[in-house]
Every structure is written in structure tokens, then in C-alpha cells.
């Protein structure tokens, strides 16, 4: 009952983008940045009274280690008639991704040892530059935006992180690092560039969490 979809057409591509957003939130960190190398196969099933379910076979790569790819199967369920609930995403990653333990620990210790709270803006800049020391923050922004993208994806949207406008570290009493981001999301179908405020917590063992996020108020 599942219909085969051409991987090069937009319905499958949009579902893949939602799945990758979720994956970045789940697995993202300062030392790893997962992106879609290729969408190998896609099928869609219309479930009466429930919604549309996409079955995807993805090939992923880490932007920091492009020689290696990893396969992933994903199921993305868009709930019927709902503009308020996030799609359900189930992922299975086959094989091992590069270990980022060392890089994570090094980044964690570096930020924890800063006297002043870390601040940066415009990542990348207008010319696409990301200074090497800002790449880990860029990748954490991917994790943060991955959450927002997953939560806000619908069958007629396709989001990408366009730019990190601003990031500010907030020192905490517990073990987590906290970064407050203002990110710009590019939505492909409407072509809008939408500012979002996202708070990200991150810890080398506990990974990324987004306790709060909101579309930035008009005029910001």
C-alpha cells in the first residue's frame, strides 16, 4: 500500500529534510555535523484517519569526515490535518559514525574555562566564512536548528539553517553548557527567512536538548 516516490521530487526531499533535522538534534554536537549525501529511496503511505507516512532510505555523511558515509532508514509521519504537532520521526542508523568524544571533551572544557561568556555573530558571514574556532558553535547551531526544523516541518515546508545571527553563552550552575541562539531558517517553499530564538543545552554525555524556542517577534 506504500507508493514509490521519485527521490528527486520534492515530496520525498521535504520528508528527508525533516528526518535529517531530527537526526541532527538527536546526534548533533560541537564535533559532528550530519548532512544528507543522497536520498536513495522513498515511499509514501496514506493512512486513513492518521496521516501520511514516508519511508526513506538515506545516505548520510559527516561534514567533518566526508570520506565516510552511513546508511539510515527513517519513517516520517505527518499527522492528518495538523499544523501544530511535529511529525513523528523514527530513525535507524546502520553502522558507526565517527567518534567525537575527544573533540566534545576539548570543546566542553574550553568553554567551561572561559572567564567571560562566549558571544559570536553572523556564522557564516556574508561571504560564507566560518573561522575554524567557530565551527563547533556552528555545529551546535545545527543541533538547535534541527530541533526547530523537526518540530515545525509539514508536508509543504522544507527548512534549512541559513545563518546564525547571534549566539550567547549563558553560564549555569549545573554541568550543562547553555547557548542562546538567534538563528535564521530558510523555508524553501515560501522562500521566507525566519528568525528563531532557540535555547540549547549541551553536555558531552547527555547530548543536546532544547528547553525553549520561539519564532522571533516581528521587527527583530
Amino acid at each position: 500500500r506504500a507508493m514509490e516516490l521519485p527521490p528527486g521530487h520534492f515530496p520525498a526531499a521535504r520528508a528527508a529534510a525533516a528526518a535529517v533535522g531530527y537526526l541532527r538534534y538527536l546526534r548533533g554536537g560541537p564535533g559532528s555535523g550530519l548532512q544528507l549525501r543522497q536520498l536513495r529511496r522513498a515511499r509514501r503511505q496514506d493512512i486513513d484517519g492518521v496521516g501520511h507516512k514516508y519511508y526513506l532510505e538515506l545516505e548520510l555523511e559527516d561534514v567533518l569526515d566526508k570520506d565516510r558515509t552511513v546508511s539510515c532508514t527513517a519513517e516520517v509521519l505527518y499527522h492528518l490535518g495538523s499544523n501544530t504537532s511535529a511529525p513523528d520521526v523514527q530513525l535507524t542508523v546502520q553502522g558507526e559514525l565517527r567518534s567525537t568524544e575527544e573533540a566534545d571533551k576539548e570543546f566542553y572544557n574550553r568553554i567551561r574555562s572561559l572567564e567571560k561568556e562566549f558571544v559570536a555573530e553572523n556564522i557564516p558571514d556574508s561571504h560564507g566564512n566560518v573561522p575554524p574556532e567557530l565551527e563547533p558553535i556552528h555545529l551546535l547551531a545545527w543541533a538547535a536548528s534541527g530541533y526547530v526544523i523537526w518540530q515545525n516541518s509539514m508536508e509543504n515546508t522544507k527548512f534549512h539553517l541559513a545563518q546564525v545571527k547571534h549566539v550567547k553563552q549563558v553560564k549555569r550552575n549545573d554541568e550543562d553548557l547553555q547557548f542562546d541562539f538567534v538563528i535564521l531558517l530558510h523555508e524553501m517553499v515560501s522562500q521566507e527567512v525566519l528568525p528563531w530564538e532557540v535555547t540549547l543545552l549541551w553536555h558531552p554525555q547527555r547530548g543536546a536538548r532544547v528547553p525553549q524556542s520561539r519564532a522571533a517577534p516581528a521587527g527583530s
Partner: protein, 422 residues
Amino acid sequence: TINPELTNAFSQPLLSLPLTTPISCRHQVLRIKTKNEEEVKQLQLLESLEHLQLDFWINPSAPALPVDVRIPAASVQAVKAFLESQGIQYSILIEDLQDVLDKEKQDMDESAQRQRSTSSFDFGAYHTLEDINAELDHLASEYSFVEKIQIGESYEKRPLYVLKFSTGGSKRPAIWLDAGIHSREWVTQASALWIANKIASDYGTDESITSLLDRMDLFLLPVANPDGFVYTHTSNRMWRKTRSKIPGSVCVGVDPNRNWDAGFGGPGASNNPCSESYHGPSANSEVEVKSVVDFIKNHGNFKAFLTLHSYSQLLMYPYGYKCTRPDDYAELESLGRAAASSIRSLYGTTFQVGTICKTIYQASGGSIDWSYDNGIKYSYAFELRDTGRYGFLLPANQILPAAKETWLGLKKIMEHVRDKSS
């Protein structure tokens, strides 16, 4: 021994020159030919008289060797008189040193300018509109078959410059190529510049380009939306639309790729002026669009219409305003695949091929739909690198790879058009 005549001849103080006089004004350079040791000694004494400020370029050392000396204007007459009184032969090597220096500086300036004009435009960097326009001028002046023409003005009165590549004939069948209609897509304007230079410099040596331009003309509009482009530099890097004021709205700008007369106002375009895909009050309301439409219609002999966008790595043909296939679907799909294959051959970059409506979204009022429905069969829209990692903010170090691979795809299409059009 001090020669008394020597001392007498030069006992007068130097005429004092105003401080503003350039040091070399009317200085002369003499070449002195000494006949014997005695004359050499005379010159060595002359050398020792510091108040004369003589500058020996070749010092007196032996009778057989010439002595070259620069003499300040004030000392020239006195030194000449002395040499003549001693019977020492001399000739004037440089009549007026300032002249020589002036000419030398002029030569250097011209050389530096040639250096700048031939090699200094960095195609692997992002540039301002001013710099791009200067490079268009340079290309037009450097190549006899390249001409810069103005096809209109933007809303804010900036010229719309097109490079015309034509090796002759009269209104030969032509190819249209534009970039930057959406101003934030910076890799497209940058790639267009590289492509312009590539075509111009390879004509005569590259067989494909040469046979193409020997039979067809090419018109290239590298910055189709100059107002938006300037705005991305000065105010908002993410600006997409034109900068036209919309009556009754606080919002500015129309999506120039929803403003063409092809399914205008239909699905996939917004009627909200504040939207990024606002189609505008009417088809061709944007002067940036109307100028191109008028130019192409007046020319009447275009065979291909190619437009560059970013990002997503797609190679698309009509239609966008409707999801039915164009009549020439089979040929356009096949040629598109061949072009994508050429693109991939360089760096492995994959472009998806298909109609706009199936590949990206339904979108009305688009340029290649207009061109196709107006008889220009080979109508393609490219979405260049990347697929979202950097998006609009593609690092400058990817400009050249993007331009080069895109060029291979364009060339494949142009070669096919050439073969079918002549």
C-alpha cells in the same frame, strides 16, 4: 695639491633653489672621457668638492674608463666651464633628468594599470556592484567581439548591463543567460562573471566556444537585480526581491521570478506584498523584468533562455506554473540529463533534473515558463551549489568550482542549441 683654478671656479656659493623645486629639475648627466692620469686626478679633486653636490654614477678611476656624473642645475655651467678650460672631453648623456624621470613614471603607471586591468579581478571572490561593472567594462575593452550594452534601468535607476558576445553577422540566433535575479544568491553573479571571462578568453582556442560564437550570439546579464544586490551588501544579506515601493504597503519589493507573464498570479506566488514570493501588482510590473522581456521580444531571434539561481543543485525546465509536461518534454529531459552528467564529471556534484513543478514546487510567473511559451524552446533554470550546508552563504572558495561545473552544463546545452539552430 689643490688646483687653484679648481678652487676659484667653484668658490661661489651655489645658487639656492626654492625648497619646492624638485631635486632633479634641469639636472644634467655628463659623460667625461679622460685621456690620462692627470685628468683622472682632476676629476677626483672635483669629486671631493662636496658643496657642488656632484653625484658620480661612474667614479673616476682610470683613464680608459668613462666617468658619468649627475650635476645639479646650479653647478652645471661652472663644471662645464672647468672641464673646457682643462681641455677635458665630455658629452651630455642626459639633457634634462626630470624629463627622463617623468617618462619613466608614466611608463610604470601604464604598466601597472595594464597589470591591474588584465589580471587583478579575482573571480574567486565576491564583489560589489561597482567592481562587477568595472570588470564588464574591462572585458568589453579587452575583446573586440564583446560589447557592454544597457537594456534598461532598475527601479532605483541603476543600469541593467548586458554583455553581448558577437563575432559578426546580423541578428544571429542568440542565447540568453542571466544571473542574480534573486539578489541573495551570490554564487550566481560571481559565476556569471567567471563564465563571461571564460567565453571571451577561450574564443579562438576552444573549439566548442569558437564554433558556438561563430554561428550564434550570446547575451549575458550577470546582475539581473542590481537594486536587490546592493541591498544585500549594505543592509540585508538575505534580501531576495526587487526594491520597488508597493502602493498601499509598508513592505518593499516584488519577487522578480513570479512577475513574468506566465500563469501570472496563479498557485505558488503570493499576493501579499510582504511575502518573499509576492508576484507584484501585475505581470511585468517590475522594470527589471520588463526590460528583459522587451529586449528579447525586440530581438526576435533567441533560441535559448538560461537562468542561474541558488541553492539546491537542480537543473529544471518548464513548467512551474502548471504541473503538466511541456510539449518538448522528452528532448528537454534528455538534454537536461546530459548537462547534469557534464556537471557531475568535474567534481562529482549531483544535480537533480526535472520540471520546476515536480522538482521544487509549483511556482507561477517564472521566467523560463514565459520564455518557453514565447517560442524559446531551450529554457532552463539552474539552482547551483550547495544543498543546504551553507545555502545562500556559499564560501567564496566554492565560487570557482561552482562556476566551472555549471559552465560544463551550460556548454552542453549551448552546443545542442547551436547544432539545432544552424
